[in-house]
């Protein structure tokens, strides 16, 4: 009886496991086939097909793509000053939003990580995450009404004789800083949590003032997390077109791409290359700075 029980049943699972055993390359291949196939063929492939159109042109009347190789779209982007203005404006606001969010997020994240009680931490985490669940569109609309003439902001500033910024670049900066703030708070919070309190105590024991400790111990250790958060604030601002449309008259990269998709896909594709190149460069730098461990 024991002999029979000792016979291993060759189930399918076991057979497959046997196939993979000792063949790490096969394991890796099987593991990666799905995700890499999806991302490379599906996603990168789609991008490549779209961006290929950047080298084509379009017939003005029928809207059909003329599939002959040409660099005229890039020429247009370089010749017409408006495109440089738009790219400059978008990148500038993306940078401003990132810096603003970093400044706003750090105290909150620090408090959550180092000073809050366990319950306080739970409450704050929920409090910070909750706005992410309210619809992006409704939040922007809410800001639109707040910024309108006679809206909340004007009403609140009236007693001191000021008026709100109204619609425009300032509005876009305000709203974007608002929208992406949670995406900056959480990586910084996670990163700060990782800093062992004993390091901070050691720094204090060695005679450093809180400010010096902050500057020379905490900040460098938290920096990769800040960069991780900045990936989102920068990327999300760079590509957005709905917010600029709702709270300003100004065109951002996303707006011009959107406006040209149906009439002139080649031009839209050529312009789309700009944020792609910018983000790829940003990601490479961020990775070097260690941000990928903190996303």
């Amino acid at each position: 009886m024991e002999a029979e029980a000792a016979v291993v049943r060759r189930s399918v699972g076991r057979r497959l496991a046997g196939l993979f055993h000792g063949r790490p390359r096969l394991q890796v291949g099987a593991l990666l086939a799905g995700p890499v196939g999806w991302l490379v063929i599906g996603y990168l492939g789609s991008l490549a097909v779209l961006l290929a159109a950047a080298f084509w042109s379009v017939d003005a009347a029928s809207g059909e793509l003329v599939q002959t190789f040409s660099l005229e779209n890039f020429q247009t982007l370089l010749d017409e000053p408006v495109y440089k203005d738009i790219v400059g404006r978008t990148v500038l606001i993306a940078a401003l939003v990132t810096v603003t969010d970093a400044i706003l997020a750090f105290p909150i994240a620090f408090y959550m990580a180092k000073l809050a009680s366990r319950r306080g931490k739970a409450i704050l985490v929920v409090a910070v995450l909750l706005p992410l669940w309210s619809s992006y569109l409704v939040k922007v609309l809410s800001w639109r009404t707040m910024l309108s003439s006679g809206g909340v902001i004007d009403w609140a500033l009236e007693p001191i004789g000021l008026s709100g910024p109204g619609y425009g670049n300032t509005a876009v900066w305000l709203v974007m800083s608002y929208l992406w703030l949670p995406y900056m708070i959480l990586p910084i919070y996670a990163g700060l949590e990782r800093i062992p309190n004993s390091l901070i105590s050691a720094s204090e024991d060695l005679g450093a003032s809180p400010f010096t400790t902050f500057r020379r111990v905490i900040l460098p250790l938290a920096f990769p997390a800040v960069v991780a958060g900045s990936i989102f604030t920068f990327a999300l601002t760079l590509g957005d077109y709905i917010t600029p449309r709702l709270v300003s008259n100004n065109q951002f990269i996303g707006n011009v791409i959107f406006n040209n998709i149906s009439n002139n896909l080649p031009l839209a594709s050529a312009l789309a290359l700009v944020p792609i190149v910018v983000m790829v460069a940003y990601l490479l730098v961020a990775r070097k700075l260690g941000a990928f461990e903190h996303i």
Binding site: P35, W38, L181, P196, P210
Partner: protein, 287 residues
């Protein structure tokens, strides 16, 4: 950490300002959900509870809500599978291009939504010749949700010593048994946190959705988008938004609990699990 009274006070003030910044617009939004007039003026002329029952009765809003749930669940499921597979490969093996995977995975979320949306739309309609539908939306959502799961799982796997798996193999378990009985249970909280965050991402996504959704379908954000400027619908839209936020307290709280269980903390888009408790690794660093 010892802070002077002044510093502690300043910190508390900064936190207060930050939280006020976060919540004041939401409060304004909530006030408008009670606005008795259709037009957005400030201050609102009157308050009423009417919009909430109307929102719940609004058939298309309910359908959109259910569609969003469906899309979110399926997209999250796909993201879990693909994200876990990728992170297993990266964490446990060495191979050509390993460092690139994390780069690849984050691209769909780092590139502008309009680029992702138009590219996928182009592929679906021109290259593959299929109609846009909820299926295409799910494919799009899954693509950028992968990174959320991937980051959570890989952070966890990196902290998990491979010796457990080796021990399991030594004890006679084959690959699947090890995976099922050793690896997955220890990944549970990371998977849970990743799944919740992926779901949140999909649930509120609008830009890519605009480009990949079919004619008849509506996710909740898309329904909101189409009703954003219709005067009669606006207060209902506000009410719907408030309802969703209130409903979401539950999953958000659970996400926090889940990751706190193992001493890890959740991040927004793929929070990296952090070392729980504050002194573990430092203990080795200090003489």
């Amino acid at each position: 950490m010892r802070l002077s009274r002044r510093s502690a006070l300043l910190l508390r003030l900064a936190v207060g300002v930050g939280l006020a910044f976060i919540y004041i617009p939401l409060i304004v939004l909530a006030i408008y959900a009670f606005n008795s007039s259709n037009v957005l003026e400030w201050p609102p002329p009157g308050l009423t509870f009417d919009w909430f029952p109307k929102a719940i009765e609004e058939e298309r809003a309910r359908e959109a809500f259910v569609t969003s749930l469906k899309a979110g669940v399926v997209a999250t499921a796909i993201a879990i599978v693909l994200g876990t597979l990728a992170s297993l490969a990266v964490a446990r093996h060495r191979f050509f291009g390993r460092e690139t995977i994390s780069f690849l995975v984050i691209l769909p979320i780092a590139l502008p939504g309009i680029v992702t949306g138009v590219a996928l739309n182009n592929t679906f309609t021109q290259v593959l010749g299929i109609d846009l539908s909820l299926f295409t939306v799910i494919v799009a959502h899954a693509t950028f949700c992968i990174v959320v799961v991937y980051n959570n799982v890989i952070a966890r796997l990196r902290r998990l010593s491979p010796s457990f798996e080796e021990a399991s193999a030594d004890l006679g378990a084959h690959t699947w048994q090890t995976f099922r009985h050793v690896t997955v249970p220890s990944l549970r909280s990371a998977l849970g946190a990743g799944a919740l965050l992926a779901f949140a991402l999909s649930f509120d996504e609008i830009i890519v959705t605009i480009f990949t959704i079919g004619n008849g379908e509506e996710t909740l954000p898309y329904w909101i988008f189409r009703n954003l400027f219709r005067a009669n619908q606006l207060p209902i839209v506000n009410a719907v938004a408030v309802i969703v936020v209130l409903l979401s307290i539950i999953p958000v709280y659970f996400a926090h609990r889940l990751t706190r269980e193992e001493g890890a903390t959740a991040g927004a888009r793929g929070g990296a699990g952090a070392v729980g408790g504050k002194d573990e690794t430092a203990a080795t660093a200090m003489p």
